[in-house]
Symmetry: C2
Subunit: 292 residues, 2 copies
């Protein structure tokens, strides 16, 4: 028996497309919906989805499971559009990188459906975007965070958990508050810092000279600066409060490092580098063990 009868994916890009591909054999039928007809056509041509819904009434007709995987800034408008057409048995989840804005939209538009709306966030992705970058293996060995609502029906949480596990992900639960703080620190801030460095250098008169001498350290530090601008705009705005807190703590660290540079304090600089190196090396070993 199929895990899901009719799966609806809203926003068939890297994440939505990879989810569809990973569940291909465990789902009866996959319907795509989204604002770009062109990318939906591409997804159908690639066999990622079976058909394209022209509107939410048609998409939600008989839908068993809906994954919202468009940029998080669209969540509110989309939940509002879905609301009148949602059938009582349909389980809804999302793949948004921030959670408190998703909660807000759920409470604004889907209050009648709380038992079956289960917010989630797959911790996977590359700097590439679009359905052409999708892969059935994207979530293999990765983690998906579920931030269940107190009102959730345990069976709906279980289905969302099973779907992500079927994609190869391990599933953990967190509160939406913890989620947003943790990912502001380990994901959103590094993206902001990397975008900022490349943007600052690219705007200089000698940018070409600078880039021509950049090597592997620069390459890795700035890989995430090639990420999807709209997606990251939405994440930064949605998680603004936690991100500003993280940025300010980091600016405090940079102020310390700046003062050590200014005073030529070699021993303290070396101590900071040594503590960072040890923490990073320890983390890297854990990753290797977990295959992450």
């Amino acid at each position: 028996m199929a895990l899901i009868g009719k799966l609806v994916v809203c926003g068939v890009g890297l994440i939505g497309g990879s989810f569809a591909l990973a569940l291909r054999e465990k789902v009866d039928r996959i319907t795509g919906i989204g604002r770009s007809k062109e990318s939906l056509e591409r997804a159908r041509a690639l066999g990622v989805i079976d058909d394209i819904a022209p509107d939410w009434a048609s998409a939600l007709d008989g839908a068993d499971f809906v994954l919202l995987s468009m940029p998080v800034g669209q969540t509110d408008a989309i939940m509002e559009a879905m609301s009148p057409h949602l059938q009582s048995h349909t389980v809804v989840t999302d793949a948004g990188s921030t959670k408190h804005n998703v909660l807000y939209s759920i409470h604004s538009h889907l209050v009648g459906h709380l038992p079956r709306v289960v917010p989630a966030h797959p911790i996977a992705g590359t700097e590439k975007s679009g359905v052409q970058a999708a892969s059935a293996m994207l979530f293999q060995g990765k983690r998906t965070v579920i931030t269940p609502l107190p009102e959730n029906d345990p069976a709906a949480v279980e289905l969302v958990r099973n779907a992500w596990q079927a994609c190869g992900a391990s599933v953990v639960e967190m509160s939406p508050q913890d989620h947003d703080r943790v990912f502001a620190a380990v994901s959103h801030l590094p993206h902001l810092l990397s975008f900022g460095l490349v943007h600052e250098l690219a705007g200089r008169a000698n940018a070409e000279l600078l880039f021509s001498h950049a090597a592997s350290g620069f390459r890795d530090f700035t890989r995430i600066a090639a990420s999807h601008p709209e997606m990251w705009r939405d994440i930064c705005l949605a998680n603004r409060q936690a991100l500003l807190g993280e940025l300010d703590q980091y600016l405090g660290e940079l102020a310390l490092i700046r003062s050590l540079l200014l005073s030529g304090n070699g021993p303290r600089l070396e101590q900071i580098f040594e503590e960072a190196r040890q923490a990073r090396a320890k983390w890297g070993e854990g990753q290797a063990v977990n295959g992450g």
Copy 2:
């Protein structure tokens, strides 16, 4: 005929060891010297060097070519120690990541030898360190920057150039001033930022929770935070002036981004991310073409 008769490598770690391995077949004899007897013994056991010099008098006796590849903070003391024993035909070069401090030490201790001291900087490395990480292929397809002195004998510059080309590197020339500014921007600053992020997170009460959710973006952004602390302390101190200038320009960029976050200015944030993405993607394509 061998490219070099007796090669002396001071500091047989990742860079010095890789240089020795790459030139193995083109050199008659390789002598190591350095402060750690243990790592010199390891280098000899691995076949990277043929013998270990107990002091500079013995190392420089009959030496044709000297590569200084210890952390740059030791340059001054080592040039002072070399000075009384340097034979007139010996060509000296270094692998330091900063150049104005090397120039300063050359003019302090090796003024009688200016025609044959050719400062250089191979743009290669990994976050790993030590001779056990050395590889004959490390410089293959990479770049070495030479910053010749006005007093240099063209034949000495040519020999340094040939040695690096024999390691597989392409060689470019720059002024020491340009060198230090360019690498402050594209290498030293990113290292500082990456060390700073990991250090700041590692010091928190919930560090373990944070690290447990870090994924591939964090992995790449922080790879260089596992770099050699002493080497990077020395680089930061030696290139302090240029690095402070770069840090301050970057802090200006972060102040801009912070104000856009604070005011929720989505369009301007997206524009910054888009410009960064385009510059990074263009750079990445150039790298792929150049195999860098």
